[in-house]
Symmetry: C2
Subunit: 331 residues, 2 copies
């Protein structure tokens, strides 16, 4: 992976080198951690925007439309399309995705699809690492689109700077949607396919609900100290016909400016990085400390006791934890 | 939660007490860990069968049909229907699920639906804990059905003794399916809606592929030491008309006998319990050890360094881990 030639070509802006490096990162090939460490220490500037929502909400078309506007403005845009459902679909949903031609006028464009593999945590980690790679390559924006619905998708977009939840008039009962905790993750709501019946209704409902929540002060991303507490934007788009896509892009920009000014942007990145370091620390704890205990057979014996109903996992974990503590203290 | 009256009523077989206790466990109310510890130390006998597959594969009908056969044979059957996609569907898919009447002849029956909440890990944990509760109540079988597709569902059924992957003729390219790693988790493949065109084809394709994989010895659950390495069963059912459901039940039983005889049953439970204890240990490590380091501001300083590109999360995690080690050694 860390072959100087490949990395040099990557740093010179070679798209094929980028693709190969992304594959190494996705597959977690030997040396990928060194590569990521290197990328973390390079200048980075890319903003990550995550889009999630139910199937059929037109997210791909929306992402393509937004990309086109930004590309024409000369920005370098990358897209990661993640399909966590692919154990069954085999990623076919992404196969027929229209890709931009290299000859598109304006900025550079890169599209990468990412199908499910391994654990759900693995998919979120791979997406995060690929986004870092695209950032290191020099893209201004990484659009992360999740094809499908569910917690895995929410975990993935949780690594973004801005999260867009895309709904359609058919998404129905707005109250239900809000109950489900989507407002806790969303920065922008898009009601796509706004030419369909019911679009006005869902926009009104969403706006009312969000205003209500704001007055109750329950939205975590709304700063309570600021003089004004802006409500979440709700934007009606019709991606197929390009309606309001420019407004959506303008909203990205204004939201980004505001978040950078009031410190929310940095605060979120800090929180994300803290989570990442914690996860890595846990991994090291697991592989090193726990294996030492395990090698003594204590874990295996404890598991047998639980399985025959003489112990339980909670007491076992407590006991093993104390044991590790004591082992360390008798140095 | 640990009110003696409620637990006593639970232990006397009161279904309403069971429902209340399940709610406590699902919501992780105060005292739920003590309750789970108690349940782990009780006699347990329930077998867990997990069913997963794409939407529209007829899993609910299949689960109902299988339940009916087993109930008529006098077994006590419980069902947990999990819908990880509910951030968007609001769990509506489960709302119109046909429930058995209490008056069903034969064994006892209990149905519980579980919609998504919190993190994806939380849903898998809740399902596991509810299954333990149902086991403690005395059910012979816990059928765990996941409504939808994706990694979260695979994580959930990974806590089962037997995993059934339900496909339909429309599921299409079998090779694709196998590539996606479903064979690594499946113990039985069911091709439901076998009255539809293409059913024979998908059964043949699956059988061929599985035989091929078996000869390559790549299936992890196939014992390499045994004289015969049985291939995974592929069963064509038509749940709506009850076709082959009795055969499916017979397959459950024979598979279970074989797994108990050859040690696979115990080995899987041991592995699951080891994972559970590891996760609990990690949690304790995170909440206790890491917080001590964090309180000194080291983590915060490290994160600032990463964010400005002067450090990376991997080196940081390594350094913090060594620091924790050193702190302990200077006791």
């Amino acid at each position: 992976v860390s072959s100087p030639t490949l990395l040099q070509r990557f740093e010179q802006g070679d798209i094929r080198a980028l693709s190969r490096i992304i594959s190494h990162v996705e597959n977690e090939d030997d040396g990928y951690l060194e590569l990521l460490s290197h990328l973390y220490r390079q200048p980075r500037q890319a903003v990550r925007i995550g889009l999630t929502g139910p199937p059929g909400a037109g997210k791909s078309t929306l992402v393509d439309g937004v990309s086109r506007i930004l590309l024409e403005a000369g920005e370098d845009i990358s897209v990661i399309a993640v399909d966590p459902s692919s154990p069954f679909t085999g990623g076919a949903l992404l196969g027929d995705r229209v890709r931009f031609k290299e000859e598109t006028q304006g900025g550079r464009h890169y599209f990468r699809s990412l199908a499910s593999r391994g654990s759900s945590g693995g998919l979120s980690r791979a997406t995060d690492n690929i986004a870092l790679t695209l950032d290191g390559f020099g893209f201004d924006l990484v659009l992360i689109e999740t094809v499908g619905v569910g917690q895995v998708e929410l975990d993935i977009v949780d690594n973004c700077d801005i999260v867009v939840v895309v709904l359609v008039p058919e998404s129905g009962d707005t109250v239900q949607t809000l109950k489900a905790g989507l407002t806790e993750i969303a920065d922008i709501f898009v009601v796509n396919k706004s030419d369909r019946p019911g679009a006005d209704r869902i926009v009104t409902d969403l706006t009312t609900m969000l205003a209500l929540r704001r007055s109750q002060g329950t939205h975590p991303s709304v700063s309570q100290t600021a003089g004004e507490t802006p409500t979440l934007p709700v934007i009606a788009t019709d991606a197929v016909h390009g309606t309001n896509l420019a407004e959506l892009v303008a909203t990205f920009n204004s939201l980004l400016s505001r978040k950078k000014d009031n410190g929310e942007f940095d605060a979120r990145r800090r929180k994300q990085m803290k989570r990442k370091v914690s996860q890595l620390l846990q991994q090291r704890f697991l592989t090193e400390t726990l294996q030492k205990v395990a090698s003594k057979g204590d874990v295996d014996r404890a598991i047998e006791s639980i399985l025959v109903g003489e112990d339980d996992p909670y007491s076992t974990a407590d006991r093993l934890f104390e044991q590790i503590n004591l082992a360390r203290q008798s140095c």
